[in-house]
Symmetry: C2
Subunit: 612 residues, 2 copies
Amino acid sequence: MDQFSSVDFSKVDITGGFWADKQKLIRDVTIFSVRDRFADTGRFRAFEFDWTEGSDIPKPHIFWDSDIAKWMESAAFLLQKAPNDELQSQIEHIIDCIEQHQREDGYFNIYHTVVAPKERFRNRDHHELYCLGHLIEAGVAYFNATGRDRLLKLLERYIDLVIRVFCVEHSAGFMTPGHEEIELALFKLYRLRHDKKYLDLAMFFLNERGKKEENDIGWCKSNYNQSHLPVREQREAMGHSVRACYLYSAMADAAKETGDKALLEACRALFDDITRKKMYLTGGIGSSHMGEAFTLPYDLPNDTAYAETCASIALSMFADRMKEIDLDSKYADTVERELYNGVLAGLSLDGKAFFYENPLEINLPDRARHTSVNDSERLPITQRLEVFDCSCCPPNVTRYYAALGSSVFSAGADAILVNQFANCSADIGGAKLRMETNYPLDGTIRLTLTGAKGKRLLIRVPGWCKKSAFSAPHTMQRGYAAFNIDSNSFTLCVEFEMVPTFVHAHPAVRADAGKAALMYGPLVYCLEKIDNKGALFDLIVDAGSTPELRFDAKFGANVITFRGTASSEDESAPLYSDGQSAARREVPVTFIPYYAFANRGETDMAVWIRAE
Amino acid sequence: MDQFSSVDFSKVDITGGFWADKQKLIRDVTIFSVRDRFADTGRFRAFEFDWTEGSDIPKPHIFWDSDIAKWMESAAFLLQKAPNDELQSQIEHIIDCIEQHQREDGYFNIYHTVVAPKERFRNRDHHELYCLGHLIEAGVAYFNATGRDRLLKLLERYIDLVIRVFCVEHSAGFMTPGHEEIELALFKLYRLRHDKKYLDLAMFFLNERGKKEENDIGWCKSNYNQSHLPVREQREAMGHSVRACYLYSAMADAAKETGDKALLEACRALFDDITRKKMYLTGGIGSSHMGEAFTLPYDLPNDTAYAETCASIALSMFADRMKEIDLDSKYADTVERELYNGVLAGLSLDGKAFFYENPLEINLPDRARHTSVNDSERLPITQRLEVFDCSCCPPNVTRYYAALGSSVFSAGADAILVNQFANCSADIGGAKLRMETNYPLDGTIRLTLTGAKGKRLLIRVPGWCKKSAFSAPHTMQRGYAAFNIDSNSFTLCVEFEMVPTFVHAHPAVRADAGKAALMYGPLVYCLEKIDNKGALFDLIVDAGSTPELRFDAKFGANVITFRGTASSEDESAPLYSDGQSAARREVPVTFIPYYAFANRGETDMAVWIRAE
């Protein structure tokens, strides 16, 4: 088992370019917009006041603790990089509320305490341990940012209660959480506190899941929450896709901490099953709204794609952990796919609104036609919203991009790995690394590394890249270009040839048969009707053509669009024929990045275009 | 407007080969099987006994008169070609029942007379005029077969009542039938009796449909029954597809009888709209189970295809009428498509069972997956049944093939047209024509025509045929090869090159994107899993390849299958790539005629196969 550690974002400063712009947006707009919408909807008041039947504050939901926790974690990530009294005092205020409402025995949960006190630890689907997990992550982040551990200490009392109830007394109504999350949070806490009881509790929840005994106490053997098999026996990604990837992330953490080979093998198989059979081009996973779940291999419908933003984040988390225990560029390739597409589409360009579901096609005429059969309820919404009843995605996107620096580098005993590309400087165990690049606008990267003589530098060659050049000799190792650092000041120029390229899906993906999608480097492109004349779904592109690059002011800086040509079949073409139809009209088409879709009102959109 | 008349099947004897076999099946098996199932289900008893609440016979349905009428018409067609005391006495018995139950004023309708006497002519959707139409067709057929007009006379009294109620008193609750049929029946009766009142009544129903006045009396402006526009203004095929094509058939009859150019133009536009945008490769129409209706252009899903057998018959009827007023081979091409595919698939190889819906794909694993969202109720059944609650298709198939001789030839003032190809001899206005062929097993046809010197012989060159040869000089006229007959005994050898060919659908047909279907002459082929290893929907055919012809004993004589090769993508192939995948496995595949599918138990089936 390989052993690398991700370099924490606290050691990585993103200094300009594409990601600096996005982080500025998160810092200046998103964190406050999410906070204000959570305030509007009563989520903060639920921490401040005890809801009672008939009171004039909204009744808390079972997942509101996690909404606030993810917001706190996001704010803590921002505090880590720059002081902000407003955010810090708001976090302190929430901690006050938690302290005040925590029960004598350590229990804390907004919903159960005030709405259903008798159901404490009775209902596996009530998200208590999930909420605790997010609070732990917030506590760890806030401690890292400020050195203050008041929240952590409150939560440690709560965890002691959980250990007693679940591992000693076995008095809970279930054995493992209905929504995984606490497991990976416990690994974070264990790494901070080095107290083995947190590792033990995480391993307890992993080891008990899907065991016969668990099902014997009345919880159905459901793949919805990955309880169909003991985790080491799982090979196919199943069930609710966020739950699944949170579990797999914890399994990867566990493999790293314990060296458990059976867990590593399960993680490898699950990762490959997802990324080779169950993932949209954008990185979206969970193709069905039913159970927000994985379905069959290659079942990837574009118009009804569920592809929850949180699921993309979860897969990115899983992939980022896999790269720590299994050297292979496919993991960071998947993180990159999510960073630029699956997760990024979840956030509007103004930083205020979010998609929960991320379709790869919006066909408004087709929707109108299907309304009569209630297909409409299965179709994703077409415009982002600022808050949802189940508003897990907004704070998840916020914390994801606030801490994206953690995905860039990793380090082993004698190696430094460059997994993602951004304008940044980093301190990696004393070595200083500076990366200058316009990535993803082009593929030129200049690296300067000092204080790492005698180590090896591994640079991921992106999976999309067909031709790369380096200014120093290298060998290839599992998709990484490997360099021996022979001087105290090592400089390297990297060129990843970036050309717009049409890609095809595996022929078993029925939804994409006869279609192609444009990619430019890591970016997936799409067509929106607002930019294109005629019916989007009548267009046919030449998959061998190369659209022309344009910088396009309409989306601000750092956004590349492409101008290509497509043809449109004449209506007079025969319905069935054994040859090529003659009558075609050429039309210009404008491709925009997938992440930028749905920012100019409701309009048809397609990632996959009919192709020849 | 061109003017030709179809040569009635009474003048055409099919003497051997493919269609003689099918007609023998109809005569020996199907006519009796349909009768027995109708007897089992109480349809005959409903004519014999008056149902009353609590009686031990089943309550009649609103369309049972039409079921029995179509059975009588089928039996009369068989009587026309060969005496059969059993069939004739059964028809006479039914006529006795009708005579006995006919009301004083001429009214006759099983359902309304005994179940809902007060609703007589009140509910437009209650099929009274539809049932009368089928009875008229039965009466005409029985008179033609036997010279007996007792049934016709009973019905003529009923029609006089209809004329009084609808055209004189305007006392019915609606103005035109909710299900068209009586119109085309009235044209048949008019041509037999030459009484203008039948023409007038037919024209009344055509002219009133979709007029503002009609909608004013409370019937919604619905395209379900083609009442959205006056018939002469209709250009797009809409609504219930059987209703639609029965209406269009009557419109073509009217154009022929009256020379109405506006009707001709409407018929031409509607025919083209169907066959260029809304018809399956098999000839199936009405792609949605909702309203059994036409949907949008190019919306032709394969697995949920409705494609009712009766709708294929109706389109064939419409096309057969169009060929009488508009010389163009596309009409007889469409009849041929239905004869060999869309209608023929409706009948099992043993002649006893029927499909109501005719899917182009049966994907059992996919069905299993979708059961949870009630998609199952939208999916066609996978095995034929001997009778249905709504059993319109079985007697419709029976009468269609019993009289298929009427589709073969037509004649104008100086021309004889060969529209379909079958081993047969015919008397065409004194000229004798003999056709010898193994069609559709091969494309060789030998014609001998005597007594037609000075006329022209027009032979349809099938739309599927790329290369044809004739033993005499000819010119081409709207898809027909035209010959001047210069001797009293004219002999012609025709060769239509018949090679297995993969066809593609118009790129706007999303369901067929990236797929091809095998055709051999007029026959559409399919794959059934029972003949093929591995997963049917993983196979990829080379659309440029030529499968090898095999006579295959498993389906009896006159059935050709094809053996080809396909490849199956390796599971290890990447989910997304910009090039061809390397890892492929070659597998042999067996294609069977589409009409022969689902005769060996439930199994996956596909007409459209992934192709490259």
